[in-house]
């Protein structure tokens, strides 16, 4: 046994005296958004168990909307009472930070969740199940049934729907709320799993093209689990280095503050390998969620296979949460290592921007196209992350807000273009859409232009903010690469616009379903946010810049 063991003071769960236990102090007020959402999710499960099938849809819908709205109200209340700035603090025994970035991102995630609920709730698109009168949504009648099998047919006939999606969504949102606020590695890992697991399930729930949906779920799950193993192992190594999971603690050790006081630390920190390897692995876990090259390969497959409302939610909210966590990790835990991770992140950012844009050129499926586009955007966001300045943080926050609504809106539009086989996602089917349905095509064109970063759309404001921050942070070369990637990306956004407006409609082309108020309002919100953030972004830039400071 080593010297440590013989010291006799090895604390363990068994030797710990009961009198030393202190009751944990939980700041319920500051954690209320998360608690509300998770609570609503639990209630949702309960409802699922006890309510008759007919009532579930309505009840879940009300519950989710209510839960998300009140959580958003809580976030607002916290922000207005200064918890985002002057009263920013770490709550929950050091587990969760309640500060500007956290509140900003939580607010964004909650809004995204709310709008996603709207899209989830759409029941006018699928043809009615003929036996039953009930309307159905885009989710499988009975996910457990074999595709094309007897069970599926019966379930469809009966008009069943999977109302579990709402609690799942709430759980995912709950996890996402914690993720960017997580202030130690343990919480980070738990939050990651809490929002990932429901997403894996949601991916598998498509009503149409179930094989693809299941495949997406499998891929997402396996790769997600794989990456979270990396994250976890990285976390373990960081713990080994610093002896603590807390962000501020690790940061202090990295900054050389505590080493002198502990012989143990002196030993583990003797070599920085633990720190560097651990840090890299944790970052890798986050980059996976972000969809950065070379950890991006799940993105197109999962985006394509997942039910489109889920894709929209995932694309928007996951990105927000993951970038929040990445920002906090890099700005709070590893600022001392800036000179180590910056060059690496440079490479990742450049690769991500270029690869996303280049590969998207030849895509033929609209959902895959948007997936690659999201990869390119991850690259732009990384450029802002690399700025390592307050401006960098706030520009990323702003960009996330802008981007997530464009994405939501775009995927919501995708749900509406349908033919006999469900959504018509193959690009060739979108030919001439502008003739058949100029309004929808126009709206989609606005989203595409926002993706492309054309001025007067939110995409431009965001891109400008990020590039500005990057340039000020001395990453001028990244800006140039970003600009080139934007130019490449413009090519395929325009290709879609050309297809919609200047190609002759095909005889067997899709029809544009007339959506209910739910999807309509989701798209409307998307357009409004896109235009408002494009034309008059100042208020939101202010918000983001006030929210640009992490609590340590």
């Amino acid at each position: 046994m080593s010297a440590v063991a013989t010291a006799g003071a090895v604390p363990s769960l068994w030797t710990l005296g009961a009198e030393e236990l202190q009751a944990p102090k939980i700041e319920y007020g500051q954690l209320s958004p998360t608690i509300i959402v998770l609570g609503a999710a639990v209630i949702g499960i309960v409802l699922e168990a006890f309510l008759p099938r007919k009532l579930r849809y309505g009840a879940q819908l009300v519950l989710s909307a209510l839960g998300l709205t009140s959580a958003f109200a809580a976030v607002l209340a916290l922000a207005l009472t200064g918890h985002g700035s002057s009263k920013a603090a770490v709550a929950g025994m050091g587990a969760i930070a309640v500060d500007g970035p956290a509140l900003f991102l939580q607010g964004t995630i909650l809004l995204v969740g709310l709008v996603s609920v709207f899209v989830f709730a759409e029941r006018r698109l699928e043809p009615r199940a003929h036996a039953a009168r009930s309307l159905v949504d885009s989710f499988a009648a009975q996910p457990a049934s074999v595709p094309g099998g007897e069970g599926e047919r019966e379930a469809t006939k009966a008009g069943w729907t999977t109302t579990e999606v709402y609690p799942l969504l709430l759980f995912a949102v709950g996890g996402m709320l914690i993720f960017p606020a997580a202030n130690d590695l343990l919480t980070l890992f738990i939050a990651l799993e809490v929002f990932s697991l429901p997403l894996y399930l949601l991916c598998a729930l498509a009503r149409r093209r179930r094989l693809l949906s299941q495949e997406a779920a499998v891929k997402y799950f396996l790769l997600g689990a794989f990456s979270s193993a990396f994250l976890l192992f990285g976390a373990a190594l960081l713990y080994g280095y610093a002896g603590t999971f807390g962000y501020s603690g690790i940061a202090r050790v990295v900054a050389n503050a505590d080493r002198a006081t502990s012989t143990v630390l002196a030993e583990t920190t003797g070599s920085d390998a633990l720190l560097l390897i651990g840090g890299a692995m944790v970052i890798m876990g986050l980059l996976f969620k972000v969809g950065a090259v070379p950890f991006h390969m799940w993105t197109p497959d999962v985006y394509q296979g997942a039910p489109t409302p889920v894709t929209g939610f995932m694309a928007a909210a996951t990105k927000v949460a993951a970038f929040g966590a990445l920002l906090r990790l890099l700005y709070v835990v590893l600022p001392g290592l800036r000179w180590d991770w910056r060059p690496v992140m440079w490479g990742v950012a450049i690769l991500t921007m270029l690869a996303g844009a280049v590969v998207a050129i030849t895509q033929t499926d609209i959902k895959r196209l948007l997936a690659y586009s999201s990869i390119a955007h991850a690259g732009f966001l990384l450029a802002g992350v690399i700025a390592t300045s307050r401006d960098g943080v706030s520009s990323v926050l702003f960009y996330l807000g802008a981007y997530s609504f464009v994405t939501l809106g775009a995927f919501a539009v995708v749900t509406l273009v349908r033919d006999a086989g469900g959504e018509a996602t193959h690009l060739s089917k979108w030919a001439g859409l502008g003739r058949r349905s100029p309004l929808l095509a126009g709206v989609f064109a606005i989203f595409l232009l926002a993706f492309a970063g054309i001025p007067l759309t939110s995409g431009f404001s965001g891109k400008f903010a990020v590039f500005k921050a990057a340039a000020e942070g001395g990453a001028g070369a990244l800006v140039v690469v970003g600009v080139i990637a934007s130019a490449i990306a413009a090519f395929f956004y325009i290709r879609v616009i050309v297809l919609m407006f200047f190609s002759e409609p095909r005889a067997d082309g899709p029809t544009v379903a007339v959506p209910s108020v739910w999807t309509t309002s989701a798209i409307t919100i998307g357009v409004l946010v896109t235009v408002v953030l494009g034309v008059a972004p100042q208020y939101f830039l202010d918000l983001a810049s006030q929210a640009g400071v992490f609590v340590r």
């Binding site: 003739r435 058949r436 349905s437 100029p438 309004l439 232009l449 492309a452 970063g453 054309i454 001025p455 007067l456 431009f460 404001s461 891109k463 400008f464 903010a465 590039f467 500005k468 340039a471 000020e472 001028g476 800006v479 140039v480 970003g482 600009v483 080139i484 934007s486 130019a487 413009a490 090519f491 325009i494 290709r495 616009i497 050309v498 407006f501 200047f502 190609s503 002759e504 008059a536 972004p537 100042q538 830039l541 202010d542 810049s545």
Partner: protein
């Protein structure tokens, strides 16, 4: 704050665009009349701008300034100097004629029965007004960012105008035509977007350097110019050059300058003639205008550094455009290449850095707009009659449609800068301005006037003269009243400004002086200046003063 005349001038067509788009499907002609009325009212406002502009007054007038995006250092700042005022007037002037000429252009894509959703006529004219609004505002913008936004945003309506309402007269059939059209539209957009994105990098860079040196990032032209005058703003040479290149690239694409020009023939060839006019006479002017205003105004030293290359490229453009125009078989592409040649002259004039060159370049922008409009619109009328753009499909039109041929000839003569017509003034000023600083360049450019005569007259000869051999040509009717009403005023303007350009030079000259002082350049002095240049200071030549009278 006084009446925001400039904002209103730009906003009127924007509002008009929305209103036009909202006209119900069944009321096609109401949409047309609305668009025409709005554009005419805009012209009235633009004239008001010209009238209220005092050439002897401050550099920028009718200014408005309010904060917009504080975080980006962006203000909504507009104001006009002589150059901008004249160009705004040009824009406002041309659009009503373009609309008049395009009266039936959208009819062909109208659905067979009115459709609530698909209303191409409304869309067509709304897009035109939208372009007008953005162009006017971009001329008025004195904030780089505001300008940039409009510079980019105007691509979108332009793009739909090119791709959605192309020229139906296509040799290779409807399907191939549609393909070509969308290729042209995409090419237009991509070229300009790439230019714009590179400029975006430079815009970002400008913000960084201003925030570095002035404490707060700003895009205000006036603020930057003043700061530089005080010595509070000095750019590192390399950075200034990089930024200059970023800006210049975008403008060179838009202008377009060789070798970034290839989008223009496609775009002009595939769009209808009025839209082609909108591209070359109005939208492209934003590029050359921006060179004058932003490249020279923001980066004087880099501009000087780049001058040799820019002048060389401009010369190449002049000759190359002209030679290619000679080689074209398609009328509209020919005019497009001619425009490339003319843009070469404009850029040459700007970078010659002499008063004559820059005044000439400014006038050139205006006059080229009017002359190309005249030529292109008549060509469009002709094409719409015969359904072909190929020069070889015509011959002897003069015989069957003499007025059409006559107006075409006048447009052509203006294009080749015949003295007495407006473009001569501008071309001569550009050449003399260039020559006085760069004699060789001046001489090379002068050879362009011979080539201009060649391509114009060759086209005229092949289309208008000779015996009428083809039955389709025999059936060509002469200009209609509407068409004559569009062309005649343009021709009148060409003649008026050919005779009395002073009405414009008086407005432009002070602005050019300011630009010259921005770049800290003075006109070269003559070698043996004569005391005064006016005849009335001289006695008639004395018969014994001849000198070598032995």
């Amino acid at each position: 704050m006084s009446f925001p005349l400039l904002t209103v001038t730009a906003a009127l067509p924007a509002v008009g665009a929305i209103a036009t788009a909202a006209v119900p499907a069944a009321k096609k002609s109401a949409a047309k009349w609305l668009a025409l009325t709005v554009s005419t009212a805009t012209l009235a406002l633009a004239v008001a701008v010209l009238v209220r502009f005092d050439p002897g007054g401050a550099r920028y007038q009718l200014t408005e300034s309010r904060p917009w995006i504080k975080d980006f250092g962006v203000r909504y700042e507009v104001g006009v100097d002589g150059i901008a005022a004249v160009l705004i007037a040009l824009t406002a002037l041309l659009v009503p004629f373009i609309i008049g000429a395009a009266w039936h252009d959208a009819d062909e894509v109208e659905p067979s029965r009115p459709n609530r959703r698909w209303r191409p006529t409304q869309g067509f004219f709304a897009l035109m007004l939208a372009v007008e609004a953005m162009v006017i505002l971009s001329f008025a913008a004195t904030d780089v960012f505001l300008f940039y936004i409009l510079f980019e945003a105007m691509l979108i309506p332009m793009y739909f105008l090119i791709g959605g309402f192309g020229d139906r007269a296509h040799a290779a059939g409807e399907e191939e035509g549609a393909k070509q059209r969308s290729y042209a539209a995409v090419k237009f957009l991509l070229y300009n977007l790439v230019g714009g994105l590179i400029m975006l990098a430079a815009v970002v860079g400008l913000f960084v350097v201003t925030s570095d040196q002035l404490g707060e990032g700003t895009f205000s032209l006036q603020q930057i110019t003043e700061a530089r005058a005080d010595g509070g703003f000095q750019l590192d040479t390399n950075i200034e050059r990089l930024l200059f290149l970023g800006f210049f690239f975008a403008f060179a694409v838009k202008a377009p300058l060789w070798p970034l020009h290839t989008w223009l023939p496609n775009a002009m060839g595939e769009s209808t003639a009025p839209v082609a006019v909108l591209i070359t006479a109005v939208v492209d002017k934003v590029g050359t205008f921006a060179m004058l205003r932003f490249c020279l105004g923001l980066f004087p030293e880099a501009s000087e550094w780049a001058t040799p290359v820019v002048i060389a490229l401009a010369l190449v453009s002049i000759l190359y455009g002209a030679l290619l125009a000679v080689g074209q078989r398609d009328m509209k592409r020919l005019i497009a290449y001619a425009s490339i040649s003319h843009f070469g002259f404009i850029i040459l004039g700007i970078f010659a850095m002499t008063s004559q060159g820059q005044s000439g370049a400014t006038l050139y922008m205006v006059f080229h707009g009017v002359s190309t409009a005249a030529l292109m619109l008549v060509a469009g009328f002709l094409i719409s009659r015969r359904g072909s753009r190929l020069i070889a499909d015509y011959g002897g039109v003069q015989k069957v449609a003499p007025v059409l041929a006559g107006t075409f000839l006048i447009g052509g003569l203006a294009t080749l800068s015949l003295p007495g017509l407006a473009p001569f003034i501008s071309e001569f000023l550009v050449l003399v301005g260039t020559f006085s600083r760069y004699p060789v360049a001046g001489i090379v450019a002068t050879s362009g006037i011979v080539l201009a005569a060649l391509y114009v007259l060759l086209m005229y000869q092949r289309t208008m003269t000779g015996p009428v051999e083809k039955p389709e040509v025999r059936a060509i009717p002469d200009l209609r009243v509407r068409e004559l009403a569009v062309v005649a005023p343009l021709i009148a303007l060409l003649i008026f400004f050919g005779v009395y350009p002073k009405s414009l030079t008086d407005i432009v000259n002070p602005a050019v002086e300011h630009t010259m002082s921005d770049v800290q350049k003075k006109d070269p002095k003559p070698d043996h200046p004569v005391a005064d240049k006016r005849w009335f200071d001289y006695k008639p030549v004395d018969d014994h003063a001849g000198g070598d009278h032995k």
